[in-house]
């Protein structure tokens, strides 16, 4: 037990010594990683906020399918059933000409002047259709719309303003960009870490050689380098989260200052705690992998 503690203490102090000897290099590595992760984190934030915005919109997606004048009640039931048969549809509600007028009145309460000339005959009857959440992404809405248009007895179909559709399109782009840039960043960080560790190994070449000659196992020599790699990436990620938070605060401050009351209740949230933990865990893994790659080439292969 005491041996184990001593050993851990040895590894930690050796790691710290190693970082100190290449302090400048380590600092540059950490800052580079921080900047890379900052960019990645900004994507996370955009994604998270657009996603939640979309979530808000999802419930509000309504499609209105207008019914041809002169369609009788029997046909209305048939049309209603036809609409329901589509898999993407969540709910269907029929509004007769009278219902339509009532809704219209409700919406324009207090502006009776506009309503004065309007009678029941002016407004067409319609079906109010909501779609399932899963439908909102991609071109699925378009399919539902053309399905509705194809039903006989339906004259015209209106839905939202295509905002949800556009947002989900944007979200896909953000996601793809995030994956692309993220993948590239991870690769770049991997290369950076393995290079830094390689330099670290070279700067202690003599010591490693002698340690091997007096019987040190590879893992005994390697652990401090692995720790060094892990610390670099985790520290870089930690720093990037701090930077991101600063950027976020400044952005929010400027937003409120410039747009004032117009966007009082605009709510942009920071990356989630889970994301942070996942990022830090990934960083540790990435640091391990980067250091391991160099160790394989520069410690394991020599005698």
């Amino acid at each position: 037990m005491i041996r184990l503690i001593e050993r851990i203490a040895y590894f930690i102090s050796t790691t710290i010594k190693g970082i100190k000897t290449n302090l400048y290099l380590n600092a540059v590595t950490v800052i580079t990683i921080a900047v890379a992760f900052l960019i990645l984190n900004i994507f996370f934030m955009i994604y998270r906020n657009v996603n939640s915005l979309l979530g808000e919109w999802k419930g509000k997606i309504k499609i209105i399918a207008y019914v041809k004048d002169g369609v009788n009640d029997q046909q209305i039931i048939i049309i209603g059933n036809q609409i329901k048969s589509n898999e993407g549809i969540n709910s269907v509600k029929y509004f007769s000409k009278q219902d339509a007028l009532n809704e219209f009145r409700k919406e324009l309460k207090g502006q009776d002047a506009i309503l004065s000339g309007i009678t029941q005959d002016v407004l067409p009857a319609y079906f109010l259709v909501t779609v399932k959440d899963s439908i909102i992404t991609g071109k699925a809405i378009g399919k539902v719309v053309s399905f509705l248009k194809g039903i006989s007895g339906i004259t015209d179909v209106q839905y939202g303003e295509g905002i949800a559709e556009r947002i989900s399109g944007l979200l896909i782009i953000v996601k793809m960009l995030g994956f692309g840039i993220g993948g590239f960043m991870l690769f770049a960080i991997f290369i950076i870490v393995s290079n830094t560790i390689r330099i670290s190994i070279f700067s202690r070449k003599d010591e490693i050689e002698i340690m091997k000659l007096v019987g040190a196992t590879n893992s005994f020599i390697e652990i401090p380098f692995i720790l060094e790699g892990m610390i670099q990436v985790v520290a870089g990620t930690g720093l990037s989260i701090v930077l991101l938070y600063l950027v976020y605060r400044i952005f929010m401050y400027k937003l409120h200052q410039n747009l004032g009351s117009l966007f009082v209740n605009i709510n942009i949230s920071f990356i989630s705690k889970e994301t942070m933990i996942a990022l830090l865990a990934c960083s540790a893994l990435l640091g391990f992998a980067g250091a391991f790659a160099s160790i394989g080439r520069f410690i394991r292969q020599s005698y």
Partner: protein, 218 residues
């Protein structure tokens, strides 16, 4: 303890350093390997702890065929072998203490024990007062003794010493040889490579003479 069978060693550049060497060192023996500079003494020692791989042939150390040893087993072989290097191989940014302690530190031995053992061995080589000095501030002879202390601190079963008295004045040479004889009496197998004819004639031990990479019969 150490057996070589038809050993050949060719470095990547240059001609053959060793050719068809077969020899044997018994457990507890004290052996000199001698010959002119460039004869292959250092190379021969290096093969015995696998600092170099032989081009051809088999080497048995302590019952293990080290030419067939898995890399992961190599450290455990080396823990039984103390090596005094011709070029010392000291770490010049570490104190004398840290240099000697390295042999024990890599075994994960507790600090307290390391301190005690390092102190004792430094006293034996007469450097206890230089504990905290950096090797760069030491004379060649003192550096040599640090490297001897590092090789002996773990009480190895085998000691391989490459020109261990090359930088020592006659008095210190006597001290170091006395030290080697002491540990030899305690059971350590000692192999000393030297080109110093006086040393060989003073200490009457078995001598293996190399010439141009071959064992010479005279």
């Amino acid at each position: 303890m150490i057996q070589l069978f038809h050993i050949y060693k060719h470095y990547l550049k240059g001609s053959a350093a060793l050719e068809d060497i077969s020899m044997q060192v018994e457990k507890g023996e004290f052996v000199f390997i001698t010959g002119p500079s460039g004869a292959g003494k250092t190379t021969l020692l290096k093969l015995m702890f696998l600092a170099e791989l032989p081009t051809k042939g088999q080497i048995i150390v302590n019952g293990y065929n080290i030419t067939r040893l898995r890399k992961t087993a190599l450290p455990f072989l080396r823990r039984n072998i103390g090596v005094v290097f011709q070029d010392f191989k000291l770490l010049y940014d570490r104190t004398v203490f840290d240099n000697v302690a390295l042999t024990l530190a890599v075994l994960g031995i507790p600090k307290k024990e390391i301190k005690k053992k390092v102190w004792e061995i430094l006293k034996m080589v007469g450097l206890q007062h230089k504990l905290n000095a950096l090797p760069i501030r030491l004379s060649g002879g003192e550096q040599q003794r640090v490297s001897i202390a590092r090789a002996l601190v773990n009480e190895p079963a085998i000691l391989l010493a490459d020109e261990p008295t090359g930088n020592l004045d006659p008095d210190l040479t006597v001290d170091v040889m006395k030290l080697f004889e002491e540990i030899n009496i305690k059971g350590t197998t000692v192999v000393v490579a030297t080109h110093d004819k006086n040393l060989i004639s003073t200490y009457r031990k078995r001598v293996i003479t190399l010439e141009h990479g071959r064992i010479s019969e005279k």
